[in-house]
Symmetry: C2
Subunit: 172 residues, 2 copies
């Protein structure tokens, strides 16, 4: 790859394909990739519903997979790529793992803890701070989410209509 | 048990015995208990070093064990007891799991995200808020940590001395 921006897009595309797997499984489509020395050592997508686990966000799963792979909770040489701005829990996990750099796609105005609601990655009182790059493949990262929620709303609307006007068979 | 304060002390004692297991294993001694309908459904202690997992704090492990037990990421009827004020990651996990009530023992001035550095449990912009009780068995919860770090410092001091003044055998 020619330069750092190309590399960021390459890894964010990997994260996007992980987000696609989440969408296919009916999960909020967020994907994450952990990169160490130029190698993607962990790929993960949101699996909260599948695993019924409140911690099973893409980032937390990627961090844990990378730690398992490297046999260390310290991931000081690793960068995390994630399609959506991480929440409080996931930024906390990123800080715990001492991640070197965070790259994310689009903002999460309702829950983001990097820029939107808090700026946790730059709080020098915490045990770690790290540089952040945002907006890599922003439109693609945002679109996969808005498409997912549009389908969900349309699906819900159909269900509500069916509840309101029972089919001739059900209403007979 | 006679009243709510007795119950809180009872469950915090369980959390303290979990913290003791962490200390015995050389981990920072923090313990957590998840209580649902008066029953302790999950007990956990910090296992970060043992598992080499940055997410393996007592609270995160207890939440996940409870979710596995109840087959649900939503723990809306559960209270979490933890010996030390939770960090950013763990408060984030508590909010993700929609925990009904948090009880903790002593403050963590360097990393606590309930009162010390942030007040994340009462931020109405986030997806969940919850009542917090602090100071239950505060001295015991604090003592087990200060004892642990005192032993660690003494151990480290011995190591440093040995490095500085090699034993006659090593220095020969």
């Amino acid at each position: 790859m020619r330069n750092a921006a190309d590399r960021d897009r390459f890894y964010m595309n990997l994260a996007l394909s992980e987000a696609g797997k989440a969408a296919d499984a009916g999960e909020v489509p967020v994907g994450a990739v952990l990169v160490c020395d130029g190698e993607a050592i962990a790929l993960a997508h949101n699996r909260r519903e599948e695993l019924q686990n409140p911690v099973a966000h893409a980032e937390a799963l990627a961090l844990q997979a990378a730690s398992f792979h490297l046999k260390s909770w310290r991931l000081e040489d690793c960068s995390l790529y994630v399609t959506l701005e991480p929440c409080v829990m996931c930024v906390g996990a990123i800080l715990q793992a001492r991640i070197a750099r965070l790259v994310f796609g689009c903002l999460d105005p309702k829950a983001g803890a990097v820029e939107s609601l808090y700026r946790l990655c730059e709080d020098s009182r915490l045990n770690h701070t790290l540089p952040v790059t945002r907006g890599v493949l922003e439109n693609e990262c945002s679109s996969i989410l808005s498409e997912f929620f549009r389908h969900l709303r349309e699906g819900n609307r159909v269900v509500k209509r069916a509840e309101r006007w029972p089919s001739p068979v059900e209403g007979a």
